[in-house]
């Protein structure tokens, strides 16, 4: 094992290729060496330091992609995550074949990720407050939304409604899963309709967008949170940058579709660094239900400590 593991060279930060660094960075797992080279700033950083920060580059604040398990670990209190709807499996309603059969694509994604589908959802505690937490895996067929993902999001909503606890969904997705054709499109309707019921019941829904979140996922439940948070520099949008460039035959402006761009344009509430995500969620959850026992003490503590 080398001391230095070089990740694939990327464009210079801020340069024209930088826009896609997030996408390419998805494929880069933090390697095993003691030192690693950051995907974005290309500086050599101590691996342990990156990991301590929740897989964030200490030099440039680049948020490396993390697995579903890592995300659950970072956000939920140890040992509290209890998955539900974990046995729902995809079928092949269109008998879809491209270069591979769709069921084979699913099998290889399952093997690659150790996950059954592109989202895991469960009950958990976030800083001692009960919540329903769902986390997407971009590694599982690009985090794409087919029937199973749609169903799990709907079940997550139903569970949050039934328990009257906040729903937190952390997305990273390329959009709809085209191998499921019209069924994947209809998941936009199913999930958005379900979120509508959450709104009606006054149960908080916090949507956390991570790099990248696109297409049918953004254009449905992900954009319907009571509060919408994104990780720094995450690419978020409807059409992917390449599609837009091809359509309009122009280079895209600097920072286009980044989290900070969406914040400026009014489509996000905040951009939150990974290291502060859990405390931000916990605070929001408390502000939404201040009467809660844990929350009343937490809120008054925060007040006492202020100033």
């Amino acid at each position: 094992m080398g001391w230095l593991t070089r990740s694939k060279p990327q464009g210079t930060p801020g340069g024209p290729e930088d826009r896609t660094a997030g996408e390419a960075g998805r494929k880069v797992r933090i390697p095993e060496g003691l030192w690693i080279k950051c995907t974005v700033c290309r500086q050599i950083v101590y691996r342990k330091e990156v990991e301590r920060a929740g897989k964030v580059c200490p030099k440039c604040n680049y948020h490396f992609p993390i697995t579903v398990e890592e995300r659950i670990e970072q956000l939920s209190d140890p040992g509290t995550f209890e998955e539900f709807a974990g046995d729902i499996e995809p079928v092949d309603p269109l008998h879809f074949v491209d270069s591979h059969r769709y069921p084979d694509r699913i099998k290889s994604a399952q093997k690659k990720t150790g996950l059954k589908e592109a989202v895991r959802i469960g009950d958990c505690l976030i800083s001692a407050r009960p919540a329903v937490l769902g986390v997407f895996s971009f590694d599982f067929m690009g985090g794409s939304m087919g029937s199973v993902v749609g169903e799990k999001v709907v079940r997550g909503v139903e569970r949050a409604l039934e328990r009257r606890v906040p729903l937190v969904l952390v997305t990273s997705s390329g959009g709809a899963r085209m191998q499921e054709g019209i069924f994947s499109l209809m998941q936009m309707a199913r999930t958005s309709a379900a979120v509508g019921r959450l709104h009606e019941a006054g149960v908080p829904y916090i949507s956390v967008l991570s790099d990248p979140t696109f297409g049918g996922v953004t254009a449905s439940f992900a954009m319907l949170g009571d509060v919408i948070i994104a990780e720094p520099r995450s690419l978020i949008g409807f059409a992917g940058p390449r599609v837009i460039e091809q359509t309009i035959k122009q280079q895209l402006p600097e920072g286009f579709q980044r989290a900070e761009f969406l914040l400026t344009h009014g489509f996000l509430d905040m951009v939150v660094e990974r290291g502060r995500l859990k405390e931000t969620l916990a605070l929001l959850m408390c502000l939404f239900s201040p009467g809660d026992r844990i929350c009343s003490s937490a809120l008054s503590e925060a007040g006492d400590g202020g100033g």
């Binding site: 046995d87 729902i88 499921e180 309707a189 049918g216 439940f221």
Partner: protein
């Protein structure tokens, strides 16, 4: 004609047509410049159409038509994509590809319809939501998502006709309703076959193949449990003769309004919710969930 009869008739009629037309040929018909646009249908189905403009926020998006009109003595609200006729008109209307303000205009009219107890008739005909810098800046994703969610809360009957192209999220943004019908040669898909072929094989010329695999025609979607019925077209397409298609549409609008008006708002919304919640295919504990359960083994 009752709705059930119509479905059966459509099923009977389609196989003969299917032998004549490939999926790709249907798609070309759906996209044809000769094909009647939403405005052509609106003028022939309703009287006294008054077009209403603007989202009250940013601008009027000409790729979406909206307004109120009279249908058999009742007032109805109308929304629809408008592709345009002449080349100039098509450019002005951005070929039926809407910006966020278009969807927001449609939502405004849906809420207006609700306030005045008018049923809504929607005409879907779009290649998709426009992928551009300004569309993203103004929140294309938010506009589409909001329309879909709010459509499940609009307490008047909604009837949707996919008249040409049902392009993905841009179609669904005005495509949620209590009844969804497709014209015989219309298509409805999560992605254009060109984009699908590019993603799958890096080759957009293989679009006809992708179109087959996506199962995007009216008979496909009826079989998959996504739509409620197929509106027949004249041989060679609805542009040859609109009469047959118009009379079926009139009958459907009339029947649907009558049958849905009897429902309480809660019943209407619950049924709309359940209808779409059924559009899913998965397996859980050895049980397969699929709209027409008999079709999957």
């Amino acid at each position: 004609m009752t709705e059930t009869k119509l479905k059966k008739n459509s099923k009977r009629n389609i196989p003969q047509q299917e032998n004549k037309l490939s999926v790709w040929e249907r798609l070309l018909l759906a996209r044809s410049q000769e094909r009647p646009t939403a405005m052509d249908f609106i003028q022939r189905l309703f009287t006294q159409f008054v077009e209403l403009h603007g989202d009250r926020n940013f601008r009027d998006d000409p790729s979406i038509l909206s307004g109120i009109a009279s249908f058999e003595g009742k007032s109805v609200a109308i929304i629809g994509h408008q592709k345009g006729k002449s080349f100039k008109d098509r450019v002005t209307r951005n070929f039926g590809m809407s910006h966020p303000e278009g969807y927001r205009k449609a939502l405004r009219i849906m809420r207006l319809a609700e306030r005045f107890h008018m049923p809504i008739v929607s005409f879907v005909d779009t290649p998709g939501a426009y992928p551009g810098i300004e569309a993203e800046e103004r929140g294309q994703v938010e506009a589409v998502a909001r329309n879909i969610m709010e459509a499940f809360d609009v307490k008047v009957p909604i009837i949707v006709f996919v008249i040409g192209e049902g392009g993905s999220g841009g179609a669904l943004a005005i495509g949620v309703g209590d009844r969804v019908y497709m014209l015989e040669n219309a298509v409805y898909s999560v992605i254009s076959p060109e984009a699908c072929a590019t993603i799958l094989w890096g080759d957009s010329t293989r679009a006809p193949e992708a179109a087959e695999r996506l199962q995007m025609t009216a008979p496909d979607l009826l079989r998959l449990g996504i739509i409620d019925g197929i509106v027949p077209e004249a041989e060679g397409g609805v542009h040859k003769d609109m009469n047959k298609t118009l009379s079926t549409m009139k009958a459907l609008i009339s029947e649907t309004i009558e049958s849905l008006s009897a429902k309480t708002p809660r019943e209407l919304l619950d049924e709309r919710y359940q209808k779409f919640q059924g559009m899913v295919a998965y397996r859980e504990n050895a049980r397969t969930h699929f709209p027409p359960a008999s079709l999957l083994t």
